[in-house]
């Protein structure tokens, strides 16, 4: 449960698109963004996908490339959704949706799943976020003043995975930047995010800046600066 599905309920969704108001910009679709994430996954990597947007990633892995999807409820080798009627209440992903297991996969208990995560055996954790700072701070578990905080495995994945990357829209629904100099939302972990994939840009986090490695069609330095509240460098 890296990022709660509940975050995407209509009354609190911050995941719609404000970037389209930026002149000639043609933002990537989140499906395209999923492709960007997928193409950066090393062969053989053990990958944990947060719920929500990151679940789009497996659909974009090149055919025949073996990657191990880890699910923190106790599975390695998570496969696609089963055909209708093939669902099993005991074979679900972190978002509680029905999945399958691939040949070579295995089950283990919850404690082992988190030992695996915290112990550095997950190569890449792909998560959503409310905010990511230019020093890699991650805020994706709670909003300020929340009555019912719910953390799930977000903090364990954030400190445990060898590489934490974030996949999200570039701004909130209201157009507020989510790439910030300093997070104002409660932290999940400090200094852990290495790369962000948004609908406007892909950026590495280095030396207190977002270093842009790719930008969506029509995105200029000026347009990106408008919707980013943190130092940016370009290295496209």
């Amino acid at each position: 449960m890296a990022v709660p599905a509940e975050r995407q309920e209509p009354n609190r969704a911050e995941e719609t698109d404000a970037s389209t108001q930026l002149g000639d910009v043609r933002p990537w679709t989140m499906t395209e963004v999923a492709g960007h994430v997928a193409s950066d996954l090393p062969v053989g990597a053990c990958v944990n996908l947060g719920i929500g947007l990151p679940t789009l990633v497996p659909g974009h892995m090149p055919a025949g490339v073996e990657v191990l999807l880890q699910c923190e409820n106790g599975m390695l080798g998570m496969g696609p959704r089963p055909p209708m009627g093939g669902e099993d209440p005991d074979r679900i992903d972190a978002g509680k949706g029905p999945v399958t297991i691939v040949p070579g996969g295995c089950y283990f208990n919850h404690n082992e799943a988190f030992a695996m995560i915290r112990g550095g055996h997950v190569d890449v954790s792909v998560m959503g976020a409310f905010q990511v700072s230019a020093t890699g701070d991650l805020a994706n578990w709670s909003v300020p003043g929340e009555l019912l905080p719910a953390v799930g495995g977000a903090m364990d994945l954030a400190i445990g995975a060898r590489r934490v990357v974030v996949m999200m829209r570039h701004t909130t629904k209201r157009g507020a930047p989510k790439l910030v100099a300093r997070c104002t939302y409660p932290l999940t972990a400090a200094g852990v995010v290495r790369r962000v994939y948004t609908d406007l840009a892909t950026a590495e986090i280095t030396d207190g800046r977002f270093v842009v490695r790719a930008a969506a069609p029509g995105v200029t330095r000026d347009t990106l600066a408008q919707v980013t509240s943190a130092p940016i460098a370009w290295d496209v």
Binding site: P89, D90, K96, Y107, R118, M155, D156, P186, A190
Partner: protein, 245 residues
């Protein structure tokens, strides 16, 4: 886990009439399985979402009606069944869990808003590790999870290898209620897929471990000793409930 009485001397014990020479942990009904759980108990409850949730045992516990319970579980229940049945019935004083807010956690949210339910939110990996520590005789451990976050506030902080950590203490239960697939009469268990989740860990961390199983209980020797997941030594009672939930 027998009480280690053995208080009779070897001479006295010659005339000792042993109550049982055969270990058989099977009980007939979920009601018998939860019998004796008292008010104020801390109850560890297996399951993640609906996977591995011991619905029959939870219904029996709700029917038993003992209150003032502390519930330790991943979620706080959804709908009207499972953990939600206990909360709905007002039997729960405190919930220690990782993810209380799920779609459909109506009873939890209602009782929490009423102020009748305390909540302690624990990162998922720390929750399972605290339970594992209790079962493994480890009173406390340091973990990097939640250090320098709101959930690490008030905890002892120490840096190991340049990394901030917090001290977490073991979390044990009076009772563990879990669901497995197959059991033999000694309580050896196997599970089904991710229904395994908290089961093996919680089984080790409670004074009384109760298991509902989806297959009829088998004779000893019917489970390959190489594939037992939870050794029977952790299990006290087993009840066959079938696969329907």
């Amino acid at each position: 886990m027998l009480p280690a009485n053995g208080s009779s001397s070897h001479e006295a014990s010659v005339t000792d009439t042993r109550p049982l020479a055969r270990i058989d942990k099977e009980v007939a009904t979920p009601a018998q399985a939860v019998a004796g759980i008292g008010p104020g108990a801390t109850v560890l409850i297996g399951g993640f979402g609906d996977a591995g949730v011991p619905f029959h045992l939870l219904q029996a516990l709700a029917d038993l009606g003992v209150g003032d319970l502390t519930i330790v579980a991943n979620n706080a229940g959804t709908g009207d069944d499972g953990v939600a049945a206990l909360i709905r019935a007002g039997l729960v004083r405190r919930v220690i869990c990782s993810y209380p807010r799920s779609r459909g956690s109506v009873w939890f949210e209602r009782r929490h808003q009423e102020g009748s339910l305390e909540l302690e939110v624990v990162p998922q990996g720390t929750l399972t590790e605290r339970i594992r520590a209790a079962g493994a005789g480890i009173p406390a451990f340091f973990t990097p999870t939640a250090a320098d976050t709101a959930l690490g506030e008030g905890k002892e902080r120490r840096v190991f290898g340049g990394r901030a950590c917090v001290l977490e203490e073991a979390l044990s239960g009076d009772v563990a209620l879990i669901r497995a697939r197959r059991a033999d009469r000694w309580g050896n268990l196997t599970y089904h897929a991710v229904g395994r989740n908290y089961g093996p860990t919680m089984a080790s961390a409670a004074r009384l471990t109760v298991v509902e199983v989806s297959e009829p209980v088998v004779e000893i020797g019917d489970i390959d000793p190489e594939v037992v997941v939870t050794p029977g030594v952790y299990v006290d009672r087993v009840v066959f409930v079938g696969t329907e939930n």
